[in-house]
Amino acid sequence: MIAWTIYITFAGAVLLLFMPRIFARWIALATTAAGLVTSLIAFFQISIVDLATFKTIVRVPWVPMLGMNYHLAVDGISLTMAFVTGLVAVASVLFSWDVEHRPSEFFFWLLLVVGGSYGVFLSADLFLLFLFYELVIVPKYFLIAIWGSTNKEYGAMKLTLYSFFGGALVFIGIIAAYVTAGSLDLQQLAQFQFTPQLQSWAFPVLFIGFAVLAGIWPLHTWAPTGHVAAPTAGSMLLAGIVMKLGSYAGLRVAMNLFPQGFQAWRVWIAVLAVIGIVYAAGVALRQRDLKFVIGYSSVSHMGFVLLGFATANVLGVSGAVLQMFSHGVIGALLFAVAGRMVYRRTHTRDLNTLSDMGLSRALPFAAFSFVIASAASMGIPGFSGFAAEITILIGAWKAYPLAVWITGTGMVLVAAFTLRALKKSFFGESASEVRTQEGRVLVDADWKEQQNITVRITMAEKCGACLLMFATLGVGLYPKLLLDRVMPAVGAMRFLK
């Protein structure tokens, strides 16, 4: 059932190339919605007991000579990730409803990213997982380089080369595991005892390779520039899904295959994670570009995921998975507000300029969404961010109490930069009353295009924002919904035994 998310998405992508461009956005919406519905049905249909182990759903021989299978499997973790992929995909299509420039291509690349991500989350064959993982790289390049803004070619190339560099490291780790164990099947590899000597070098290579995509400090620098350069849907996908590919694969492959290597290196992961949380939050505090603030906040939040992994206990790792879901939704929402709702209308993301506009009155819905997203991002109780981060910190307390202390100060910084961004972007002192009626934003008299843009928040934007807000609120109020499925699956992982 859940496997259809992959097929539907790729079929939609191919269909886009052969249909007239006026249908492009509708096809994309239908495809991503079908993916979301499929993952939702699977989410509630598969019983919680079945989700405790990585259960095969499809297994077809692919290249028998080399032991490759087309092998998909699902457990609580991958199902949660497929769910967030569906959510963010639908929202990102809704937030790119007004793409007029080469729309068929735009949605084609977008659907390739989505389809590849579903593939990574559901693969149970190392080669297949790696194939989907690398498949996502080039679409990202084109999405950013063609439809992006601010320094787009630089941002796109940097992001692509970082991803591919990570991919090269992963490649080494994967073939080392493959030639040693003689199998590519993740279920079999998870039983195989690799020698400690191999684990001690293969684990860091593999984990760092994946963690590049998850934005681990100091290899995170692609993330802010890439997020800023990307079009709105691109940054939503990047923050919402693509960064999770790295952390998910790090958990599923690196940590689960090389438990001893993980135990040996996990203190370093914790160190890098804590540095990432605090450093990125500190940098975010000093940014003037709204998207840069959010870009660095992504790095900071992904630091929590890595910290959760490093705890090596059920609570911490489950919290990390919850955080992947949570940040997927919140990050997408933040970028949607900053990129689509604000930048598209004001053509500026400079916080000082924005603070003169009094946008809270001009765009009340955008302000509302941003408040919700900021609250969730700061970890206010009742939103998914809180549920995730508190779980991670409880887990981390057992493993590294010192890390919790440092992270605590980091969280103050997170609150500080979020509030600063919120105040400056929406609740600044407005210069004059004329500018601040609802539905009127007047900036930049030279900017001709503005006349053609509806300033009121469109229906598509409202739908997309509501979808994401409900998701963060729902999981925040009832985290058990996810934790029930995630915790048994995490408990079944080898490195916890």
Binding site: V63, L66, F130, F142, L161, F165, F171, I172, V179
Partner: protein, 491 residues
């Protein structure tokens, strides 16, 4: 064995030879009959492919001068198919003023490839090499109106003949040591003999000539000029057909003939033999090819340097050795050849349209012809090794075989180097794709004489490019089809 049997077993070569003469005749009779010539050539090649399929599974001619095995049959088909696509590419190429002569020489080169593939004997290998090389020299210099073409031809000829001399000298040493010219017999002889310096001199000299053919650094200096200066179909054929056949023959020589002196290229346990030599060639090719390609502004030159790097990757399989290694090499080189024919096809179309093949000539290609731009994206991304294209699987296969060979991941250094190289290569392929897809307006002047890509133009060439791109995707998603064939054909 009577002559009729002989003719039956050598029917593919015979058909091509007759076709070459026929095409030459047609070309002489009428200088304007370019369509008829290429039609005759394609028919001849198609017939030859059919003839290869009719051959028996196993046969030996003239005491092993020519052999027929599943491996030779498979690669004869592949070489003929590559020639087939090249002939279609050569249709209406402005450079070929005398289409009859051009196609006849191309067909003669194809016979050379068939001989190279279909022999396990040193003398025949040398004859095949020379027949191919001589034809390719002429094909490179064929555009008499272009000084670059002449320069490329001369360079290729001077380097090539020197390399051939080395090979011949090396082969004579090998013959002197073993007293035989059959590869299998040489293998047996060498196994019983003690190692001697003279033998290594022979081996290295033989490898020099073949390294020249596959454009491995430091014997690659002819490649950029030949790829850039030669008429596009010639460059495509040098980069594809000639390369595939050279890898087949190189693999046979080292894995069958020199099997006892394999040596070891493992990092801490290098043992003298041919594999450290090939490993050094591979490492140099990967580093030089990729780094120099970074600064190229001409797409054909860029493809040439990337070809050097790809020769390096492909050598990894041979360094690893064994049946697995050979099949990985053969898979990679085959896929690479088809990809490169396609890429040169796109270059030919762009060149005809814009009058050049610099990076700027490719700018905003997507707006002029989405189909051709899409095909080029598939070819270049496959070369970069991105999924789900054939190059990705090929690299995975090669690198995993290399890492598996020997104890204790001895070839890890080479694999890491190759991965680093392919990481660098993504940058320059992306630069080309950036020109094609990201630029909104063409940067270069479109020459009015060329005609536009958007029109019906050359329908057949579009179909061919689509087929090639389809094949690259297909072999990426279903590599089993080709890998199973190759593995089954290896003894």
């Amino acid at each position: 064995m009577n002559y009729l049997d002989l003719l039956k077993l050598a029917s593919p070569e015979a058909i091509i030879a007759v076709t070459a003469l026929a095409v030459l005749g047609i070309g002489l009779a009428s200088t304007r009959a370019s369509g008829v010539c290429s039609f005759a050539a394609t028919v001849g090649l198609a017939l030859a492919i059919g003839a290869v399929m009719m051959l028996p599974r196993q046969a030996t001619l003239f005491h092993g001068m020519l052999v027929i095995t599943p491996l030779t049959s498979l690669f004869k088909i592949i070489c003929l198919a590559l020639a087939f696509f090249t002939v279609i590419l050569a249709r209406s190429d402005r450079a070929s003023r005398n289409p009859g002569e051009y196609l006849a020489i191309l067909l003669l080169a194809t016979i050379g490839l068939l001989l190279l593939v279909g022999t396990e004997e040193l003398l025949m290998i040398f004859i095949g090499l020379e027949l191919t090389s001589l034809s390719l020299y002429v094909m490179t210099a064929f555009d008499k109106t272009d000084v670059r073409s002449a320069e490329a031809g001369l360079k290729y000829f001077l380097f090539g003949s020197t390399a051939s001399a080395f090979t011949l000298f090396g082969l004579s040493f090998i013959y002197g040591m073993s007293g035989t010219t059959g590869l299998a017999a040489i293998g047996q002889k060498l196994a019983t003999q003690p190692m001697q310096p003279l033998l290594f001199v022979g081996i290295v000299m033989t490898l020099v000539g073949l390294a020249f053919k596959i454009a491995a650094a430091p014997f690659h200096l002819w490649a950029p000029d030949a790829y850039q200066g030669a008429p596009v179909p010639s460059a495509a054929f040098i980069a594809s057909g000639s390369k595939v056949a050279s890898f087949v023959v190189l693999g046979k020589i080292v894995l069958v003939g020199f099997a006892p002196v394999h040596g070891s290229a493992a990092w801490h346990a290098m043992i003298a033999g041919w594999s450290p030599v090939l490993a050094a060639l591979a490492a140099l090719s990967i580093v030089i090819g990729n780094l120099v390609a970074l600064v190229q502004t001409n797409v054909r030159r860029l493809l040439a340097y990337s070809a050097v790097a790809h020769a390096g990757y492909t050598l990894l399989g041979l360094v690893a050795g064994g049946r697995d290694g050979f099949s990985a090499t053969l898979f990679y080189t085959t896929v690479y050849a088809f990809t490169l024919v396609g890429a040169f096809g796109v270059v030919a179309l762009v060149r005809r349209e814009t009058g050049g093949d610099d990076l700027t000539n490719f700018s905003a290609l997507w707006s002029r012809s989405p189909l051709i731009a899409g095909c080029m994206a598939i070819f270049l991304l496959s070369l970069a090794g991105l999924p789900p294209l054939a190059g990705f699987f090929g690299k995975f296969y090669l690198f995993s075989v290399a890492l598996r060979s020997g104890a204790n991941h001895g070839l890890l250094w080479l694999v890491v180097l190759a991965l680093l190289g392919s990481f660098i290569s993504l940058y320059y392929y992306l630069i080309v794709l950036k020109m094609i897809f990201v630029d909104e307006k063409p940067q270069a002047e479109i020459s009015p004489a060329g005609g536009s890509l958007g029109e019906g133009g050359d329908f057949l060439q579009r179909i061919t490019l689509t087929v090639l791109a389809g094949a690259v995707v297909f072999f990426g998603i279903m590599p089993t089809t080709l890998v199973a064939q190759i593995i089954a054909s290896l003894p």
